[in-house]
């Protein structure tokens, strides 16, 4: 993980903030709503100073009612606005589940009404958040047609994907990983850019084994890949970046090249993104596979609070290394 702090580097968190600021300046239809985002500047301070800069009708502190303000974002989006909703924590998205899956996701399909909106969902563990401040709820929405899901792992992708999400004519859930907020930094281009939705990125090319992952786990995979070079195992790390629509071409391309695959994610194992990709690979890449498809994911439990429990729960480099050794034998 990069920890350099040169003046020109921005953190993952700052990249998100920059994307919001630049899009709000570029397009007056863009506005923000959520809990504590105005006066307080957001629980993670991503919108600090925005209220002063854009005023109370473009940075709305809402009542504590996720279904209500997601519904309001849907209505405004249908009227041609570009709302960006902040879930204070992705865990609270369950309160707005109905509005997201029944209204936002289905309106265009049912009666042709486009809903161009973004829901920012700070997700993931490793921050001692416990069962209600650490969840990875992407699996719930991965199964709901009509939504796009993105989950960046680097400051570059965080900024570019958020811009792309804001400009997309569909409801997009933007899963931003809390663990990465202040831990990853990078120098970003000065000019405006987007990272297109629906394109995975090979974060590390390799020939012996593919790790397909996203979010904070990308960094775990890169660490493990580095360690595995000592054992002569050349790992390719595929960062999905977008979960829906899934970049099947890049995933299949990588697996056809390496013939071995580990699916790594922080959402619990059963019915997760990895399960779907495993099924796709079995259907589409069966002939290319030289070993079992291995999933590394937390057990089917809520995310625990206490340090040893959470450490046990989350995937570790050791899990990846032992799976890689197992695959190397094939």
């Amino acid at each position: 993980m990069t920890t350099a702090t040169a003046a020109s580097e921005v953190s993952y968190l700052e990249a998100i903030s920059q994307a919001l600021d630049e899009e709000m300046t570029r397009d007056e239809r863009v506005f923000l709503l959520g809990e504590d985002i105005g006066i307080y500047g957001g629980a993670f301070r991503i919108t600090e100073g925005f209220l002063q800069k854009y005023g109370e009708w473009r940075v709305l502190d809402t009542p504590l009612a996720e279904s209500g303000f997601v519904g309001a974002a849907i209505g405004a989006a249908m009227m041609g606005m570009r709302p960006v909703v902040e879930m204070q924590f992705a865990d609270f998205i369950s309160c707005a589940f109905d509005q997201i899956t029944e209204v936002a996701a289905k309106n265009h399909y049912r009666w042709g009404a486009a809903v161009p909106m973004v829901i920012r969902a700070p997700f993931g563990g490793g921050v001692h958040g416990g069962p209600f401040h650490s969840e990875c709820p992407e699996g719930w929405f991965f199964h709901s047609p009509g939504l796009k899901l993105v989950a960046p792992s680097t400051p570059y992708d965080a900024k570019g994907l958020l811009k792309a999400a804001i400009r997309d004519p569909n409801p997009v859930i933007y899963f931003e990983h809390k663990y990465l907020y202040r831990r990853v930094k990078a120098v970003l281009p000065q000019e405006d850019y987007i990272v297109p939705i629906g394109k995975a990125d090979i974060k590390r090319p390799g020939n012996d084994l593919s790790i397909i992952t996203y979010g904070a786990m990308v960094h775990l995979a890169l660490e493990a890949a580095q360690m595995l070079t000592n054992e002569g195992i050349d790992v390719e790390v595929v960062d999905l970046r977008t979960l829906i629509p899934l970049d099947k071409e890049t995933v299949y391309g990588s697996v056809r090249k390496t013939s071995k695959v580990i699916l790594l994610h922080e959402d619990n194992k059963t019915g997760g993104v990895g399960a779907e990709i495993a099924a796709l690979l079995a259907e589409e890449c069966f002939d290319s596979l030289d070993g079992p498809i291995i999933r590394i994911a937390p057990p089917d439990t809520p995310v625990p609070f206490s340090t040893p429990l959470e450490e046990f729960f989350l995937p570790k480099t050791a899990d990846i290394i032992s799976a890689a050794r197992r695959l190397a034998a094939y």
């Binding site: 009612a65 249908m78 486009a114």
Partner: protein, 333 residues
Amino acid sequence: MELADVKRDIKRADLLQMYYYLRLTRALEDRVTALYRQGRIVGGCYTSHGMEAIAVGYASALERDDVIAPFHRDMGAFLIRGFTPGEVLAQYLGKRTGPTKGKDGNVHMGDLKRGVIGFVSHLADNLPVATGVALAFKIRGESRVAFAGTGDGGTSRGDFHEAMNFAAVRKLPVVFFCNNNQYAYSTPQRLQMAISDVVERAKAYGMPGQIVDGNDVAAVYLASKHAIAKARAGEGPTFLEFKTMRMHGHSEHDPAKYVPRELLEEWMTRDPILKAERLLMQLGYGDEVYFHEIGERTKKEIEAGVEFAEKSPLPEGKEVLEGVFATESEVES
């Protein structure tokens, strides 16, 4: 309603137009019911029989660029917004010429170009949505209003309360209504809430509320007009409780034996069409001959609609795959 008030506050032409839409709604939904009983319509059939005055009254009170999020017994609002009987029947028959091209059925339809938000079965879901419609108007400084409602049962849902609260806090240009027809499917109001008037709920949000005779089209029109004017003037949301009675079952499959017969008999005397006819006669705006003419005219329009719908093509199976995602050109500007 005082006769003098109606005479002073509602134009003759507007009242006659409302009468026409009451009759058109009744004729259309009676035809839908008949098609259902003949087995030509499958699925749900949620009619507004006996409640037509609510949607006809409020939709007549709105301006053209205001936006409606109707309840599922608000057929009159669709008709006033230009949905033709043919389109509605095509929707019921699952035809490609219906507003949802067969993707959804019955009253689950909408069209942003005509300012109607598509109904969602999860009652009260569209109240937060209408709050957001009003928020867009407010942010852009437009003089437009959103008008949204649900039934007595729908007011039990959190979305009802979340929408009312947010709209009141931000003084948004939206009017909320409850179509209180006393039953949510089979559940009577006494098992739905511990209050006898839904309007009580408005107080908790610092919002003015009013009880309105939902079977009196003139009363619905005037109360709506007043609330809409307040919203447009920046005075914030109002809650209207339209008292009425559901005269058919929840859907046409439901004989509604759980509703006491005496209650239905009592409400039959308050039928909104009979009520409107009495009013028109008292005002000297219409007589039996005129009512008969309107009846014939609406009947013809419905039959033309049936013909259009029946001749319309069904969608092809593979069209199921179309429209999951929107393209940039489809976004409202």
